[in-house]
Subunit: 492 residues, 2 copies
């Protein structure tokens, strides 16, 4: 199976596509830029969603659902917001089809034109804040801590499965607060939730930081982000949490009476992660044999493959043992499958589950049973060991934890080795062109310099890390004074 895969060295981009397609995660649809998320990919997303949803609820949030459509005039109410999204909007203009009087099938009925066009939501700040206006009168109505799981549409011209698609799935939190301090605390809290999720569940180390004004969400006062590093040395923004100030409250006239009966505008945050995370997951961990799934969110954690011979009595013994193992592993909450499909051979199955990144594979043959052992293979290190059947479920359970840790540590070591401090333009360019990764460099703080660097090198400032050390230095491009290093990288 791996023979059909492109290797990372050969063509990184093709390797990624191969994994998504052949790993059974997703495929292109007939609709430009829209993907089909296949059952295996969707099971992964469900696991990610369930963990995040629990974390949101534990931090006091509730889910709700707001309309898919946004009246065109709503988008315009926050000036920089419409600026950011206008160029990639799917626009609904009509509400009916009719038979073509000239016999050409169905056509759009010109008489069913909407008075005001509707935008398919690219994000929901506007429709939500127009709703919050009705929910908020006094400080007693605050905070509002709401999240929505939804599909959104941004009409991207160049799309890639999971990483950049016209339609994608995500969650968007939208909270309303009485004070600036509380809103900022919420923004930071949700960034921490995302970082914890990325590191503890996706086994993907991230750097927490703040975006520069250039890279801010359209309509935000401050955008906090987590940045991850892919194996090709490019960065990927894995989640953002925005402090929106009073921008949307002002745009939609949402005010509240505080305890002293003063009328104030409400403070806002929004925060989101999307199916893009699946792209990050693939590129952070997978190898030339296929996907490598972190156990905690893997759709399937353990697969048991029987090695049958012609002896039917031995076959029955293998089946019985496998059934017992499945039962014991499930009792521990482990997602396990016994693949006794006779139409494919063990070797084919080994390659298939390797491709799909199943963390642990147990092979059970007649001779194994006689020796009271099974062959246990781990996907992350591609090692296997003959293991006693006594206490096998505990062994597997511990092994899953061990794999989760090992994947994180490997990714962390790679990431840490990929942060390079540079102090000259030459070093800056040669690092970007050479090992890639994050380049920690001084920058003079102007949007102009940032734009020039991007134009010259395609590198952007990924973030100003939180708790950054203050350090005097000179901007790598202009030589102007700087007080701290920021992280540059080429990025997805």
């Amino acid at each position: 199976m791996a023979d059909n895969l492109t290797s990372r060295k050969q063509d990184y981009s093709q390797w990624y596509n191969d994994l998504v397609l052949k790993g059974g995660l997703a495929e292109h649809s007939d609709v430009r830029g829209c993907m089909v998320i296949k059952p295996y990919g969707f099971a992964l997303w469900e696991n990610m969603r369930d963990v995040l949803d629990k974390m949101f609820k534990e931090t006091g949030h509730q889910n709700a659902y707001f309309p898919l459509f946004i009246p065109k005039s709503y988008l315009s109410k926050e000036a920089s917001h419409v600026e950011g999204f206008a160029k990639e909007c799917a626009v609904v203009t009509h509400y009916r089809l009719k038979n073509d009087p000239n016999g050409g099938g169905v056509i759009v009925d010109p008489e069913a034109k909407l008075e005001e066009e509707l935008i398919v939501r690219p994000t929901s700040e506007t429709i939500i804040w127009s709703t919050y206006k009705g929910w908020i009168q006094s400080y007693r109505d605050l905070p509002i801590l709401v999240n929505q799981w939804a599909n959104v549409v941004r009409w991207e011209m160049r799309t890639r499965l999971f990483l950049r698609t016209a339609e994608f799935l995500w969650q968007e939190g939208h909270t309303a607060h009485a004070t600036k301090e509380e809103a900022i605390a919420e923004t930071v809290q949700m960034l921490d939730v995302y970082a914890t999720f990325a590191e503890e569940y996706m086994a993907m180390p991230v750097i927490k930081g703040v975006k520069t004004a250039n890279e801010r969400f359209a309509g935000a006062e401050d955008t906090y982000c987590i940045e991850a590093l892919m194996q090709d040395g490019k960065a990927l923004q894995a989640g953002t949490s925005h402090f929106l100030g009073q921008n949307f409250a002002k745009a939609f006239d949402v005010k509240f009476a505080d305890k002293n009966n003063n009328i104030e505008y409400v403070w806002a945050t929004s925060w989101g992660v999307s199916t893009r995370l699946i792209g990050a997951l693939i590129m952070a961990h997978s190898d030339d044999e296929g996907l490598v799934m972190p156990p905690r969110i893997a759709p399937l954690q353990v697969v048991i493959v029987p090695i049958y011979n012609k002896d039917t009595e031995a076959r029955q013994k293998i089946d019985d043992k496998a059934a017992q193992l499945v039962k014991e592993l499930r009792a521990k909450g482990i997602r396990v499958k016994f693949d006794n499909d006779d139409t494919s051979r063990p070797g084919w199955k080994f390659a298939e589950y390797e491709l799909r990144g199943v963390p642990v594979r147990i092979a059970l043959g007649a001779r194994d049973l006689e020796n009271n052992v099974a062959e246990v293979a781990r996907r992350d290190e591609k090692t296997k060991a003959s293991t006693s059947l006594d206490g096998l479920t505990d062994y597997v359970s511990n092994l899953l934890d061990e794999i989760q840790k090992n994947m994180y540590n490997k990714a962390l070591a790679f990431r840490d080795a990929s942060i390079t401090k540079v102090d000259s333009w030459e070093e800056f360019v040669s690092t970007l062109d050479g090992k890639g990764g994050f380049v920690a460099a001084h920058w003079d703080g102007t949007a102009e310099t940032e734009d020039k660097i991007k134009e010259m090198t395609k590198a952007t400032i990924r973030c100003i890390p939180l708790n950054n050390e203050q350090e005097a230095g000179k901007c790598i491009l202009t030589g102007n004074p700087s007080t701290q290093r920021v992280l540059f990288a080429r990025a997805y």
Copy 2:
């Protein structure tokens, strides 16, 4: 609180709206026909979704996700399908906005017109079967048992919260099979899943049946349905499961090689339930005091309301006891809230939780504690009883089961009493105009008669019940011979 509610007798339709709005389930949005599902309503939907999702997975189905948009030409590939949906389609024609050169804000960019218009999915048979074409070559690829949770859009002109909205949330199962028999068995199996869910979780009895040709899903060979009865005597279609024959396989040219290498078209089913079920739930159980939630899916099952006096020591004792009860109830998996909010009085809270339909309310006062009792009120019967604190959690747990059963039995008794056999046109009309409900009558089996009856009385054939008794009779309208009774009703 109940004082502000319209009663069912006064104005049934306004009563329903009051419950949805004041009960905090949903509200109208600024987008025509689209609703906002509020946190309390969404928590209810999550509970319903989680139960159904588990039932789908236990019957071998997996979730996946298909594009929101459907190319216009795809809809047309199945003739009766496009006929059924063309008149209510939201159509995307452009993919960009731009600044109005005349300074009027943003306008649709006329240069960003799509070559082919996209329809926002009203249902996904077409986009899914165009995808299945790539998934199915041989019998080994079958069956495909896939479900999708999604939003869909049907441009309804007259909308009502939950019952009929332009956008709604639903699940749609789409399965592919090698044989007709297997597809029909799947259709019936999923109807049974829906009936079980309606009866055991929603406490809402349903009649399983088959639709007449007139009422069939656009593109189906047979539509199976579950029909429920609302308190005003009108019926409501609560779920449908369609046997699609080979219609979509033929429209999208999806064939497979069977074991003998014969090439055949694939057999299909689809089945769905939606947020409409929430409307059914409200109208099946609620009363003039507000919502009545069946315990098994209630967002909140138990609320504890403290009755404080000025004695702070007594207050502490109440708080301690409440904390202990919350802990014990949660340990039993019961959704419970201790409402110690000081800004509202116990009487206000009682009315509020009554309005929201919380099944069990526990009031805890200082004197109660002295007597080792609490006042336990059940929402369904509006009775309350002083109950010993010893073993209270077991008592409450049993009470929740008892309420669930009682709600079902009450609804069942009402439904059974609302099925009237009639044998003349006069009786038919007077029953519809009088007690309403289901009218079991003979019908000559023609679409023409069905249409006439609908025109004259607004009653439709809700279904031909499964396992219907054969009985010779005469059509109530035409007097033509009939072999069985069918169920007529006015319906939502």
